[in-house]
């Protein structure tokens, strides 16, 4: 393995930016955003440089590592602060820094009226640094630092406008649910250390094959829990919708392109664990499939443009998780979809931000309509992203999503058929709700409020959108040309035997396109032909109602965790006071009480005292009598 001394700059640059802006205070208000953007860009530069270096080496020589310093060495628990850049992480590095830099640029304008813009950029930089640490850490524990770091940054950014209590609550919810996932990661690390005596990726990879399946299954499940928390997968998905409280660039960066894909990274990175633990792998697939449908269904009912996109994100990540769960054959496709998704979803989020920017921060799509004329660039970039997500050839989604559907069908047996159908239906629903978004937002009649004056966003905002749109169009083709990404990642994953194909690729593409067409058609029929109500109609089916309420996920959490938790807290508080403290007080009062009672002996009469002495004497004599007898 090659060592390098420059990996640290990937992280250090944005981290320095964050530190400088946070500690520098108001003094850095003027140029802080520029510095942050510059640092993010230079980090991208370092990443690009590393890629070039990597390309120049043979496949085995490509991974680069750097040991920074001794971190935790206790007994046989030895973890250094070390970085590892290999073919997998470089994809992420470039995605994070690339998309991240674009979003920095976008935010310069988007946040220009916010008095706390500097702080926003500090947090963005902090996020970039944490996310880079997540993907660069050479051990689970290093990853864990980045893992929680992005959680923190996400919390800070979701709650950026925390003067609104709802936003503050949303950020707290995100953090807490993420922590549940983090707990899973902790367990996974503990299992790794207890069974294999190491927590580094290379170490675990070495030991995995001679470790019992039970332990690996446990570790895998715990990793899945972690992934579910971070990537908003079932059952820890509830926070993502609320996380849209943050400024839109945040949603684009964190909740579309980068952080939420960390789960996919984790599972892919831990391929050696999952490959040896089929049960865990199956669970991954199931979680992915459920979330895929779950997100898609929610997406159909959302009127809030960002929440609709968030639901879509959830669903798309479901695709990735599903793919990752399919084993060696799926990892590369998961990553590919992750990358293409990073482009088109970020682009669409930025588009949504642009719309909101022009519409006084209105998010309800029912109050949009006919924005195509007022925001042509936004419409164009958003539209390209739309085509990409639908999987229309030759846009990016077509390459990545079709591969996943195909792999799903090829998973074999009933499992393959079920998974294939789920992914297909998902694609159809995706087409439906995305078309709905397009129709409600950009076409039809205007349904704006009086004071809305839609206008196109400044160039600083549309430029990143445009770049991302280009990515949405081309990335799929580029990555799959000659199986570029698959081959690139190939050395990292176990080799897989050829599956017999259930369906020919062309058939899968046909089926997928058919489903997409159906979805689009239904959406057109439903929304384009009828006048869209200004307010969401109430006379809808039960399913719609449930879908509007995010399929009852919050109610479920409330009923199962929150209420019992609150009740337990209240009970414990009462118990602490009444039982534990009460026992202590009771002992005190008992002493007091017996003291007062015994005072009664001292009644002031000398004759009683004499009687007491006499009784004492009798007792002594009686004792003697007993002894003598």
């Amino acid at each position: 393995m090659t060592t390098s001394t420059s990996l640290v700059y990937l992280i250090a640059l944005p981290l320095a930016g964050a530190a400088l802006l946070l500690l520098g205070g108001r003094r850095t208000d003027k140029w802080g955003h520029l510095l942050a953007t510059g640092l993010s860009a230079s980090s991208f530069g370092v990443g690009a440089y590393q890629l070039l270096q990597m390309l120049g080496r043979s496949a085995e020589e490509r991974p680069v590592s750097q040991k920074l310093f001794e971190w935790i060495h206790v007994g046989n628990f030895n973890v250094d602060a070390g970085l590892l850049l290999d073919q997998l992480s470089i994809c992420f590095v470039l995605l994070i820094t690339g998309v991240g830099t674009l979003i920095h640029i976008y935010s310069i304008s988007y946040m220009s009226h916010d008095p706390d813009r500097r702080r926003f950029f500090a947090f963005l930089n902090l996020f970039i640094a944490a996310m880079l640490l997540l993907v660069l850490g050479d051990s689970y524990l290093n990853l864990y630092v980045g893992w929680e770091g992005v959680g923190l940054a996400s919390y800070l950014l979701i709650g950026f406008w925390n003067q609104k209590p709802a936003y503050a609550t949303a950020s707290k919810k995100a953090f807490v649910m993420n922590r549940v996932g983090d707990m899973g990661l902790s367990f996974a690390i503990m299992i790794a250390f207890a069974t294999m005596g190491t927590v580094s990726f290379t170490g675990v990879a070495e030991h995995a094959h001679h470790t019992s399946e039970a332990a690996l299954t446990g570790m895998g499940i715990m990793l899945l829990v972690a992934a579910a928390g971070k990537s908003a997968q079932f059952p820890l998905q509830a926070w993502l919708g609320d996380a849209m409280a943050g400024p839109t660039p945040v949603s684009a960066l964190i909740h579309a392109a980068t952080m939420v894909t960390a789960g996919v990274y984790l599972i892919t990175r831990s391929n050696f664990v999952f490959d040896a633990a089929p049960t865990a792998q199956l669970l991954v697939v199931i979680v992915g499939a459920i979330t895929l449908m779950f997100g898609a269904l929610i997406g159909t009912a959302k009127d809030d443009i960002k929440k609709a996109l968030a639901a879509s994100t959830m669903s798309q990540i479901g695709y990735m998780i599903l793919a990752a769960g399919l084993g060696p054959v799926g990892y590369a496709f998961a990553i590919m979809h992750l990358l293409t998704h990073g482009f088109f979803k970020a682009g669409m989020f930025l588009g949504a931000g642009s719309v909101m920017h022009g519409m006084n921060d209105e998010v309800n799509m029912r109050k949009y309509g006919a924005l195509r004329k007022f925001m042509p660039i936004t419409f164009a970039t958003f539209g390209l992203g739309y085509l990409a997500i639908l999987g229309v050839p030759p846009f990016a989604g077509f390459y990545s999503k079709d591969m996943i559907i195909e792999t799903a069908f090829n998973a074999g047996g009933v499992k393959g058929i079920i998974l294939g159908c789920v992914t297909l239906i998902g694609a159809g629903i995706t087409a439906f709700y995305m078309t709905r978004v397009i129709i409600l937002t950009f076409t039809g009649t205007k349904r704006w409020d009086e004071d809305a004056h839609p206008h196109e966003s400044p160039w600083l905002m549309w430029l990143p959108m445009a770049i991302l749109a280009i990515g949405s169009v081309t990335s799929g083709f580029l990555l799959s040309r000659g199986d570029a990404l698959v081959n690139w990642l190939h050395p990292l994953f176990a080799h897989h035997g050829e599956h017999e194909e259930l369906l020919k690729p062309i058939v899968v593409s046909g089926l997928a396109l058919t489903m997409v067409a159906i979805g689009i058609a239904v959406a057109f029929l439903k929304y384009s032909r009828n006048e869209v109500a200004h307010v969401a109609p109430e006379n809808v089916s039960v399913f719609t109602k449930i879908a509007r309420q995010d399929l009852m996920q919050d109610r479920f959490n409330e009923a199962i965790f929150m209420r019992p938790g609150q009740a337990l807290t209240a009970t414990l508080v009462a118990t602490d006071n009444a039982v534990i403290d009460g026992t202590v007080r009771g002992i005190g009062q008992m002493a007091m009480g017996s003291g007062s009672a015994l005072r009664g002996i001292q009644n002031g009469f000398v004759r009683s005292y004499a009687a007491l002495i006499l009784v004492g004497a009798v007792a002594l004599v009686a004792a003697i009598w007993v002894v003598v007898q």
Partner: protein
């Protein structure tokens, strides 16, 4: 050089100098106290530099005959554990004084008395960790209650008298149980080759397992009250609520550590067999403390009580780490003691500033502080993050070590304890949301942000929290030999990787 004696005498000298000042000269008293503690801190650091970290023997040993007829010596010496805790105490002292510059003003007595008490307390804090004679330890262990008692009762707020009494009674009861055990040890040492209180001599005593168990309990309950471990904890929230922030820092940050320190130094060393016997029960208590403390923190309405309950949870982790009997658990616990001192200090000091500005310690009275007093709000936030053991901050390293060390031997306990980290997120973020976020509520609009003195006071604490989060190696290198020494003396070796028993 008689480092430890010098360290113990310096604060007393300061106290003596302060006592000569006139009552009106409050400023001089403060400055003198600050200067004294700074000198002590410098001296401690100078001493620590000379510490040989690979030497597991006691260092800087001093021994003077004190009460020869009972075999009692004024014997001092430190190993890594003691050194780390002394270092923590002496660093915290000047910070507490600087941070609580004005907290003596609401007291029953003069400002001067406050600082005399603080300095006397500092002497005892050093002594209690440095003592290598059980009797000397006990004397300081008990005697240090008195200054704290007066600090709480005389300078606290609210139900300060009741809280001080509760604190004192709890501690005294625990202390008396320990005294009974010490007497038994003393008598046994007399029967087995001469009266002594030397800890290393006492650890060689032979005794029946029943005796050992009983004596262990005497010590352990005293330490469990001090630490505090569930269910001996109810004094702490009251005391912490009533005490001034500075006192609370010393109380939770230093004094309570005497409990966990005592578990390592006395329970494990003197009664290895009994420690093993009771380990299952103690681990359960520790786990209960972790979860229970967290739930009560979530339910707390008063910010100081909240912090106190979080400490109960944290002390649960420390206790668990100690009795997990692995090097990771042990080192983690020791490191946790050090880190907890600073993260609690940060929380309490900032909470104290918030409370003194707002005039209330009820969480619901705050709101939107982040907009009004950003620096104060953010320091509180960082302190809170440290309390919930965010990776990258110091507590994470120790908490994770404890968990991983426990998991290798007691997976179930570790798993339950890990749920504490989710609860930690709740108990920190709930007050953060209520107090710092949301719209600025009435009564909070005109609060002033941290002034320069306060910034100077809190900066080193935050710095230590962050630096040790990323680079705990210097401390761990000091702690590790001592921790593994204790473990190996107990006859334990770390569980080897099982590979899942394949």
């Amino acid at each position: 050089m008689k480092w430890l004696t010098i360290l113990m005498v310096l604060p007393l000298l300061g106290a003596a100098m302060i006592s000569t000042l006139s009552k009106a000269n409050e400023k001089a008293a403060k400055q003198l106290a600050l200067a004294t503690t700074l000198i002590v801190m410098a001296a401690t650091i100078a001493m620590a530099v000379g510490f040989q970290r690979d030497n597991i023997d006691l260092q800087f040993v001093e021994k003077y005959s004190w009460i020869p007829s009972f075999g009692i010596n004024f014997a001092l010496g430190v190993d890594a554990i003691a050194l780390v805790l002394i270092l923590m105490s002496t660093i915290l002292a000047p910070i507490v004084i600087l941070a609580g510059w004005n907290e003596a003003h609401g007291g029953r007595w003069s400002v001067k008395t406050f600082y005399i008490l603080i300095l006397v307390l500092e002497t005892m804090m050093i002594g209690v960790f440095a003592a290598t004679d059980v009797f000397l330890f006990y004397v300081i262990f008990e005697a240090m209650l008195i200054p704290v008692y007066f600090l709480i009762g005389g300078y606290g707020t609210g139900e300060r008298a009741a809280a001080a009494v509760k604190f004192l009674i709890y501690s005294l009861v625990g202390g008396l149980l320990m005294l009974a055990s010490i007497i038994a040890l003393y008598v046994m040492s007399g029967a087995q080759g001469g009266h002594t209180f030397d800890i290393s001599e006492l650890s060689k005593l032979t005794m029946s397992s029943t005796t050992q168990n009983l004596l262990f309990l005497g010590f352990f309950i005293a330490f469990a009250i001090k630490a505090p471990v569930w269910p001996f904890h109810t004094w702490l929230p009251d005391a912490a609520k009533a005490a001034t922030p500075g006192t609370s820092v010393l109380l939770l940050g230093v004094l309570d550590k005497v409990g966990t320190y005592g578990m390592i130094r006395y329970c494990l060393t003197l009664f290895p067999e009994a420690s093993k016997t009771f380990t299952p029960i103690i681990l359960v208590l520790a786990v209960i403390s972790i979860i229970y403390g967290a739930f009560l923190a979530i339910g707390a309405k008063d910010i100081k009580r909240l912090i106190a309950y979080t400490s109960i949870s944290h002390f649960g982790f420390i206790t668990m780490g100690i009795f997990a009997m692995t090097t990771q658990g042990h080192s983690g616990a020791i490191l946790y003691m050090f880190n907890h001192g600073f993260s609690t200090a940060a929380l309490f000091l900032v909470a104290g500033w918030m409370i003194s500005r707002r005039g209330s310690s009820t969480i619901a009275d705050f709101g939107g502080l982040q907009r009004v007093t950003p620096i104060m709000a953010w320091t509180f936030f960082v302190a809170g993050m440290s309390s919930l053991a965010l990776p990258g901050l110091s507590s994470f390293v120790s908490e994770f070590l404890v968990l991983v060390g426990t998991f290798t031997r007691y997976p179930v306990h570790a798993i339950i304890a890990t749920f504490g980290i989710v609860l930690a997120a709740l108990y920190i973020l709930i007050p953060v949301q209520r107090a710092l976020h949301g719209p600025t509520t009435p009564g909070n609009e005109t609060l002033s942000d941290l002034n320069l003195r306060e910034k100077i006071a809190i900066a080193p604490v935050i710095a230590i929290i962050v630096v040790l989060g990323f680079y705990p190696a210097p401390l761990l290198k000091v702690i590790n030999p001592a921790a593994s020494h204790v473990i190996s003396q107990m006859g334990f070796t770390d569980p080897a990787p099982t590979n899942g028993d394949k």
